[in-house]
Amino acid sequence: MNNKLNVKDLINVGIFSAIYFVMFFISGMTGFVPIFAVIFPAILSILGGIPFMLFLTKTRKFGMITIMGILMGILTFLMGQSWIAIITGFVCGLFADWIYKAGKYASWKHILSSYCIFSLWVIGSMLPMWVMKDAFFAGVRAGQGAEFTDALLAYINSRVLLGIIVLTVLCAVAGAFLGRGILKKHFKRAGIV
């Protein structure tokens, strides 16, 4: 089998990136409600499961998931979010590619963990919130006193970020099962897979 990416593969990447991006947009819409802004990666990983599982059935070559990750990063950058997402998109996509390849492009366990890793790219667009935390709380400290600030900071610190990562991975598992279920129920029967 020819392992180089040809035009058909690249077009497939584009199509599924577009569908996945629509899912990103829908889950981003819910982010206007403040509490949802924190858990929107989790919503995305549930919604994105269906297109991603279908995408993986069309992928038998190394590099396609990486390209999708970079595309997501570029697109969120073009929409004015942080450029860090391009890097996380690349890294997460690359790891997801490796895992998928290690499973010979067929093993369900590898597919599952591949999707979990890929879903984490979206953390990159939120990362500035944590990076800029210190400067933000310097202002709070000046206004509210150190004791209160330290208590709050201890609460917010990495624990929330870790919580988001865990939640995202859990939802990615749910999304992957949902995607596989729908794939079995509809697409196999229709002869698309």
Partner: protein, 242 residues
């Protein structure tokens, strides 16, 4: 909203910037605005940098957008000056959080909107080719922009079909069915259109090793220099002063 992003018809702007300049401006604003320092002179530099998206929207016949952005940004600045430390405890934190988020993200998002709404797909691709981005990225990227309006259109048809069969109302009760009924037909038709698209693209020689030509003329002019200098000057002074 989707339909007007990256359209293929030409866009009227009084100041025509090269896509590469737009990307550069976006990067500069993005990096500086999201940087954490907000005290002293750096706050003024950030405010100065926020003028760029305003000017660009104003000169590209998007006066409403420009005014909305200005009101929004000025309100956030006023909030930063007057509202901080007016309340205590959690309320103050929430107010600060909202205002800081607005100050940081709104200029970048506005510039992103400008970029997407005033650049044609062809122009964007020509610029990407000039900076020697690999075809492995430009082809999926262009397919993606070509597909976003198609998805919206297909989705509208599916919704109409569901309404005609009288199954549009059940979704409050059963969200997973809602997802399934919408996603499955959508993806079926998208995959089918995608196959047709790749056949069409191959027929037109997309996969051939020959260098492709592009009808769009892009190039730098005076305004590119002006805006790039503005962004560069802000970035350099920001780095030197903090």
């Amino acid at each position: 909203m989707k339909a007007q992003l990256f359209q293929s018809a030409s866009v009227h702007t009084q100041i025509r910037l090269d896509p590469r300049t737009k990307l550069y401006l976006l990067l500069a604003v993005n990096v500086i605005m999201l940087n954490s320092n907000t005290v002293g002179t750096s706050a003024y530099i950030k405010a100065l940098l926020a003028v760029i998206p305003f000017l660009l929207l104003l000169t590209s016949r998007r006066r409403n957008g420009a005014v909305c952005f200005a009101i929004f940004y000025l309100a956030a600045q006023c909030g930063r000056i007057f509202l901080y430390n007016q309340t205590t405890g959690v309320a103050d934190i929430i107010i600060r959080m909202l205002i800081e988020l607005m100050l940081r993200f709104v200029p970048g998002m506005t510039l992103g909107y400008y970029m997407l709404s005033t650049t044609r797909v062809g122009e964007f691709l020509a610029a990407m080719e000039r900076i020697h981005l690999t075809q492995k990225l430009t082809i999926p990227l262009s397919v993606m922009f070509r597909f976003l309006p198609t998805i919206a259109e297909e989705y509208r048809s599916i919704r109409d079909a569901m309404r005609m069969r009288g199954i549009a109302g059940i979704f409050g009760k059963n969200p997973s069915a809602a997802l399934e009924y919408r996603m499955v037909p959508l993806m079926m038709s998208i995959v089918k259109i995608g196959n047709e698209l790749s056949a069409a693209a191959l027929t037109r020689g997309l996969g051939s090793p020959v260098k492709r030509t592009n009808i769009c003329k892009i190039g730098f002019c005076v305004w590119d220099a002006v805006f790039s200098l503005m962004a560069t000057a802000s970035a350099v002074s920001y780095l030197l002063l903090t």
